[in-house]
Amino acid sequence: MPTFIPLLPLVLALPLAGVVLLVLFGGRIGGRASGWLATTMVGFAFLLSLAIAFEYEGLREAPASSGTEADHALDDEGSHSVEEHGASPEWPVIERKLWRWMRVNRSLPLVVAAEPLAVGDTIDETMLDIVDVPYTDALGILDLSISVHRMWSADQALGLVARDAIEVGEVLSDMNVSAGADQIRPLGIPEAVGDFSLDVGLRLDWLSVLMLLVITGVGFLIHIYSTGYMAHDPDRRRYFTYLNLFVFSMLVLVLGSSFLTLFVGWELVGACSYLLIGFWHRSEANASAGRKAFIVNRIGDLAFLVGMMLLWTHFGSLAFGDVLPRAAELTGLAAIAAPLLLLGGATGKSAQIPLYVWLPDAMAGPTPVSALIHAATMVTAGVYMIARVHPLFDNAPGAMAAVAVVGGATALIAALIALVQVDIKRVLAYSTVSQLGYMFMAVGSGAYVAGVFHLMTHAFFKALLFLGAGSLMHAMEHGAEHAGEHPEALDGIPYEQDMRHMGGLLRRAPRTGWTFLIGGLALAGVFPLAGFWSKDEILLEVLAHGGGLYTALYAVGLLTAFLTALYTGRQLLLVLFGEPRSEAAAQAGESPLSMTVPLIVLAVLSIVGGLPVLSALGAPFPERLGDVLGHHAVEGLDKIVLALIASAAALAGLGLAWWMYGRRVPDLGLMAGRAGAASRVLWGKLYVDEAYHILFVAPFVRIARVLWKFVDNGLVDGAVNGVGRSLLAAGQWSRRWQGGRVRGYGLSILLGAALMVAWLFVAAP
């Protein structure tokens, strides 16, 4: 008897309640209490999620008998379980409709004659059928019009045909058709009104359970961290309101039972991201970064929106339970267009080529935000979404290949750019873009489980790295305060984020330093940390997919793994090891416990999060995910050899990093794009932002001015005023004939009369 699963809406309600309470009473309880209120809300949500996960685990059934037990258990309040996959899932998919959001179209069961009737027939009840006619069905309405026309007098407001027709049935029994049309099909009373509606509903399966745990779990840790990190910010209340709102939105995204509900969360997380990136809004740059993120995301959302319209047109529904089992019904252009449009949405949210440009700028926000939104959760929404709707992608190999290619290209390019960055957060940002590309490569190879697996491990170690970076920045600020001097900002990068000012921080801030090191090694894919397992899984699956394209992608993946280890090693060496390169680094201090405890928890997760042994203990991997995403057995490849190759790439990367940055004191003068043409191009981020500016932004702004000043004020309004002026001129001209001079009138009368007489003489004969 489940007790917690029916409480699923409460998981959403808790952070939302946090938002409402903070908006209403936050001012009264102060910043510190606000932070703890928000943290408590997310903490309870996490506990509830855990309970739900364990309970869901217990719902496992024998594969043959499909979930009667669950049906009974969840009968209350409209819950019901849905069978979806042919391959007999072992856990029920639980869907729960919360409320009808939009009723968009009603259908109307109508009474019609079973056979067309001839003129003069008398109708009795045996000749009638009930059919379900969508109200807008032209034919049904056409029939309505006919019968109405016959039945009712002209006064009967025939424009309201459909409505009046309903009354036809009331007089059906004594109706005698006698009018002049040749065939008439009478229609009658509706029995009930059905409708196609768009509902707000929740869906629980292993995929959403996993996401639920990651979001509330990592979210909870980051909330705790934030109470320390933001302790001195006067705007804490606003910060925690946004953060709670974000957790709520993200939960809507992963729990939604339809494309539309997913899209609600999809856009809301974008809005929260906008608000949090621009959180320190006094700086123009932060505000611009937020706006850029929102607008670039919206470009992706446009594609998503069009994709939903396409799906709605084909399926008449947007519920996953209606659309996904019928995905194979899509054929032709729609079959490829629908997944490609969804991919367009995913490239925006998950920062893939061509829409990745917003994510590096998004680091303008507070660092915990970067960890939560721009590394662990929101940016993985694209991967989640593709995994969620994978039948649509399975149905279109071309779209799959597009996903994989986008992912591969992004992974490689972002890793290259990360190589030359000196801003500690920017390295991580490009690393995130690159790792997201990895996940795309996985889901683009049909390896949805591996993609989501990497999503989870990445959430652990990347959140750890970002939080660690935040803690290190904290340590640097602390050190600068102690030293009484701030190192100067180079290349416009604040000193506390500039790796050129760091070094040797492992000793100064050991808890942060060691956890940061673990996170970095996990990212690099060192055995047996979490990143190793998931990355290995992805490479394996890509190669196993077969075909020239995927073999090339495997090579790209391997190269990216090498590059990842290289820039990660570089970062670890520059930050943690060597001698301090500034007074601030030399006197840096450890952060408070509220910040380091989450780091330690995340470090533990980064170590054990990928271990296969965990699945035996009931962690949701990988068969449980396979329950939703399809089981996928890789055969014919030597897994050990491939794992060794991947490990070799990672170790080679770390080795090269040591050779370049660890062996001797690194040459700071060669950083930030000063080590030759290639490094300059990479430092300039391949000039993509500049190209977008020249191609899109600048013309848009210029055309806007031209449209306003020239077209609108000049042409369109000019035309209107021109009409006005010409009428005025005509009036001025004709005014002269009405000057009040009687003699003038007389003369014109005389001339007119003379003309008429002359005309008579000319025309009369």
């Binding site: 009723r103 056409l142 309505l144 409505r163 009046d164 509706p190 123009e284 706006r291 069009v306 319209m309």
Partner: protein
């Protein structure tokens, strides 16, 4: 004649429509020197009208398709049309699911505009209040009239107070703006009067009543379809009559390229005037399309739909693009209206149930959000005496409450899910996509363009370093928050649970769309 349900037997609707007028008369009769008393009367009558219309909205039976099929037009008053003027002109008002929400919106915005005006207006207060109340009656009449001539009377009656409001209490170029508004709208509506008279003669058999005219319009087409000789009038005459209606409505909407009166009128109008103008007056145009131009000429509407959809899409793009370049907050909001009204037109001219429901809901949404935006800009102007975007910057720190409210309304304006804007836009675009994917896709670009101009403006006003002007600003007073709060609540309400408004709308639009389609199929052939 179709009877309409008026279960109460109580003239609820008439009371709603004419209460504000009665208030205006009362104020005119009051002795002078009591501006507070005048306001009290105005707010009481407007509030009573709002309460009554809320009651009607709650009491509107959306399931009439099952329960009482004849009750699309509810609260009709009088129950059967009364003779009003010689020549077949009758008096009857009633509301269906489309008009009831607009009636409710009108009473709400009028009340809020009056509340806002209590401090904003300092000269000729009595005249101002009286005109606002007369305006309210005029607009309500437009949305309720069931007789074409009555509709025309209200249509023009709503115009006059608006012109006076702009011309007397407006900004520096108020005379130019009010003349432009007057001439533009009159030029449109003059032809409509001709068309109404023509329709009454040819289709209504001398009756101006809506049901008579619409029955007369559809019957010949049906006759023709089934080979029954009947009276019909020529297609080109139908096209001409449709064009006359469409021109009047297109100017009011305003549809590109008939929009240039709008920025002038908005920028010059006093805040409350802008609220009413953008909030409900523009809806008279779209309402006209839904109520008259489309159902009366279904076959012409179908033939003309691609043209109107094109103009709507141009409006969406063009309005947003021009809005992006604006330097004055009020004209930015004005141009954004051009863009948003394009989305409404897109939904309506999709000519299907979803699009029409979305379009009508978007009318309500646009009324709420744009009304709120004008109120917000007005509150800012009262403090700063400028609306120039560049003069502000960093306003958030000085006015946090104002900023949060502005932000929520902004999100509604860009159609973020969870706010009303999303529901309306989504349904409109979905309908347009079903009519033809190209329209849906082109229209959907509005979501990007809307975000562009709105966020740019928001950033320049609220973020960045604080300007001197911004630093001197004080946050909202309790009264101002009280004016804005209902709008914010509604924005979220409709975004989360739109059924309150969508159910009546959808019940009606489904039938209208079906009838439209049937009418067109009949005239053109399947």
């Amino acid at each position: 004649m179709l009877e309409t349900a008026n279960a109460q037997g109580f003239p609820l609707l008439s009371l709603t429509v004419f209460l504000p007028l009665a208030g205006a008369v009362l104020i005119a009769l009051m002795p002078k020197r009591h501006p507070l008393l005048d306001f009290a009367i105005a707010i009481m009558t407007a509030g009573a009208a709002f309460a009554l219309s809320t009651g009607m909205l709650a009491g509107y039976d959306s399931d009439w398709m099952v329960n009482s099929p004849r009750a699309a037009f509810q609260f009709a008053d009088p129950a059967t049309p009364a003779r009003w003027l010689p020549g077949g002109i009758t008096f009857q008002i009633g509301v269906d699911g489309i008009s009831i929400v607009l009636v409710w919106l009108t009473t709400l915005l009028s009340l809020l505009a009056l509340l806002f005006s209590a401090t904003a207006v300092r000269v000729r207060v009595r005249e101002y209040i009286a005109l606002m109340l007369i305006l309210e009656t005029g607009i309500l009449g437009v949305f309720c009239a069931l007789d074409l001539f009555l509709f025309y009377v209200f249509w023009e009656a709503a115009l006059i107070p608006m012109i006076l409001l702009i011309g007397i209490w407006g900004g520096s170029r108020r005379i130019y703006a009010s003349y432009k508004f007057l001439l533009y709208t009159m030029a449109g509506s003059a032809l409509m009067l001709v068309a109404i008279i023509g329709l009454a003669q040819w289709a209504g058999n001398g009756s101006f009543h809506y049901f008579d005219v619409i029955g007369g319009m559809v019957r010949p087409a049906l006759d023709q379809r089934f080979g029954i000789p009947g009276t019909t009038f020529a297609m080109d005459l139908r096209v001409a009559l449709f064009a006359a209606f469409a021109l009047a409505f297109a100017v009011k909407v305003p549809l590109f390229p008939f929009h240039t009166w709008l920025p002038d009128a908005h920028v010059e109008a006093p805040t409350a005037g802008s609220v009413i103008l953008a909030g409900v007056l523009l809806k008279m145009g779209t309402y006209g399309f839904v109520r008259f131009a489309l159902p009366l000429f279904p076959e012409v509407a179908h033939a003309a739909a691609p043209w109107f959809l094109t103009l709507a899409v141009i409006g969406i793009w063009y309005g947003a693009w021009v809005a992006f370049a604006q330097e004055d907050m009020k004209s930015l909001v004005a141009y954004s209206s051009v863009s948003h009204m394009g989305i409404i037109m897109l939904g309506i001219f999709a000519l299907n149930a979803i699009g029409m429901a979305g379009g009508v809901l978007q009318m309500v949404n646009h009324g709420l959000t744009t009304g709120a935006l004008f109120l917000l800009v007005g509150m800012l102007y009262e403090r700063a005496h400028t609306r120039e975007i560049a003069a502000f910057g960093g306003l958030w720190s000085a006015m946090p409450r104002f900023s949060v409210l502005f932000l929520i309304i902004l999100f509604a304006s860009v159609g973020l899910p969870g706010t009303n804007g999303f529901v309306g836009e989504w349904l409109s675009l979905l309908g347009a996509y079903q009519a033809h994917p190209v329209w849906g896709i082109l229209g959907a670009f509005g979501v990007i363009l809307g975000a562009l101009y709105m966020l740019s403006m928001f950033q320049r006003v609220f973020f960045g370093p604080q300007s001197e002007l911004s630093a001197s600003m004080t946050d909202l007073t309790a009264r101002e928050i009280a004016v804005l709060l209902p709008l914010v609540v509604l924005v979220l309400w409709i975004g989360i649970y739109p059924a309150t408004f969508l159910d009546p709308i959808e019940a009606t639009s489904t039938v209208w769309a079906a009838a439209l389609r049937a009418g067109a199929e009949v005239a053109v052939g399947p």
